[in-house]
Symmetry: C2
């Protein structure tokens, strides 16, 4: 009787196991060439004894963030954070009412602000991203993420993330991949919120970096953020950032813009099986439609290279059954 019970339990376990194996792990992806290529790639590199098997330690997957994991319209979300910080700090800086680029920003005069070019942008980044300790900055970002709302969707910014990509991240990790962000965004801005959203820990976030200084403040060690750029993790900087922070060639890379082109080229340069993917924003109804002529997330030369080399291009409208977690 006891033996019989154990056999039944064992049978149930085996049945549950094979049901799980057949369950769709990418339910928000429509059947089509990209979904097929993803599953096919993962199957090839994880088949032990197969000709394209990749040991788990080498299963490095890198993802751009803006426009690849979360949206980037109508303006980069980190830039929105900077604008909101300037507004929040304005009462303590009455002089900003008469000083550019702050005056333009506070008056909502974006064309005057834009005329200030890179210098204006760096001034905004300096006051919103420096002059405080790393702990203070992280707290500021966490508070913003917990309260600010996206103007189109009325959702918190960390909800305006792509459901299919969340599934892809989890799928890859379940298959023994180590998932990294490699983004032009600020590394400390991202690390303050990405772990619970993407399941990516701080030490697997690569991004642009500002200079920092270690000092004792009243005997307590602090890292102070300085108003100076240390490293820009974009375009040619992405392979440099991958080498510097990860030190291994990825076998899998996903981006969405010309800023990701070199990261995909670098990933493609390795021998053995490789997956290079781009998100093409083609869905003005559920998200946005933009590519070659866009200021934000311009996708032009990278799209040509993807088509020439057979990299996978997600057609958001065609390939994604659901875009955001809040879409139902």
């Amino acid at each position: 009787m006891m033996i019989r019970a154990m056999v039944i339990i064992l049978t149930l376990f085996v049945a549950a196991g094979s049901a799980a194996a057949q369950m769709d792990q990418l339910p928000s992806w429509n059947e089509g060439p990209v979904k097929k290529a993803l599953i096919d790639f993962v199957s090839r590199v994880t088949t032990e004894g197969g000709p394209e098997f990749v040991v788990p330690a080498e299963r490095i997957a890198v993802f751009d963030n803006d426009g690849t994991l979360w949206a980037e319209q109508p303006i980069y979300f980190q830039f929105q954070f900077a604008l909101d910080r300037v507004k929040a700090l304005a009462p303590k800086h009455p002089e900003w009412k008469e000083t550019q680029p702050f005056k333009a920003l506070l008056e909502g005069d974006m064309s005057t602000f834009a005329a200030g070019g890179e210098k204006a942008l760096l001034e905004i980044m300096a006051v919103s991203h420096a002059g405080m300790t790393t702990d203070e900055f992280a707290e500021t970002v966490k508070e913003w993420i917990a309260t600010a709302k996206h103007p189109r969707f009325g959702r918190r910014y960390n909800e305006v993330v792509y459901q299919p990509m969340l599934e892809l991240l989890a799928y890859l990790r379940a298959k023994g991949f180590k998932t990294f962000i490699v983004s032009g965004g600020g590394v400390e801005f991202m690390r303050a919120w990405v772990e619970p959203v993407y399941g990516i820990p701080p030490e697997q976030v690569v991004g642009s970096v500002g200079k920092e200084k270690f000092e004792l403040r009243n005997g307590r060690p602090e890292l102070v953020k300085l108003p100076a750029v240390d490293f820009i993790d974009d375009k040619e900087g992405k392979p440099v950032g991958i080498q510097k922070f990860i030190g291994r060639l990825p076998v899998f890379a996903f981006g969405n813009s010309d800023g990701d082109q070199q990261m995909l080229e670098w990933t493609a340069a390795g021998s053995g099986a490789r997956f290079m993917g781009l998100v093409h924003h083609t869905d003005a109804e559920r998200e946005w439609a933009y590519d070659r002529a866009s200021h934000i997330g311009k996708l032009d030369r990278a799209l040509d290279e993807a088509m020439a080399k057979g990299w996978q291009v997600v057609d958001m409208k065609r390939d994604w059954k659901q875009v955001f977690p809040f879409d139902k």
Copy 2:
């Protein structure tokens, strides 16, 4: 009968389990205050429901390399690599016979070389660590590690590592810690050999970084190492490196010199249980004895701070039963 056999098997498993639990995981450490403090710390932070429990994601342990995981006498091993490279490259550079600092090095005239100061050192580093692709550099290091022998021990340099620290790394990982190197050494020099020796993958190696440039060479993407320093991961640089590469405060840090003082201060600054340790080189017979007056691995102010604050100080002679894996 069947049930009886299963009960016996189960009993054997349980017995084996508790024997394993009692097995000494740090056999090369003598019983004493440091070994006791290590086991006590790990037990406190891994006891679920206990007052000092640390979730696995936060179990970040950082280790200096030179003098902490491997030896650093009579000269830093990476500097020996640089010298050996200059000798290997000399036949292709006949002009070095008449040009300093190369002339002095090739003639073994170390006092003339030393008189060249930092400029001479940077020139040696430039010719040995730059002007090639990252792949070419990694191959060069691997070849050197596989062949060069330490002058005192006649062993390969990656054998001149501390057995007690290898055990400590494995013990921490078995307890859910993520182990990182945070060293003043070059990150690409270390990544070329540390994984099989320490069980630390490239993406968990933080070190000093040279500038690199992404370029297409005959259509093939390459990263070229430039003769310029990007970041020095030493002293005040170590907390900056930890923040930049890891993005979390460690709960455990081990070093051996004043170059590690700020890393230990930064680790100590967090709330909750913390372990700060220093290796004190006190064993001239089996290794070396040096501290306050040493040029290499000077341990002076960090030792004072350790004593004042109750950080753990390994007395190599007292605390380590065995120093190197080849000691028997």
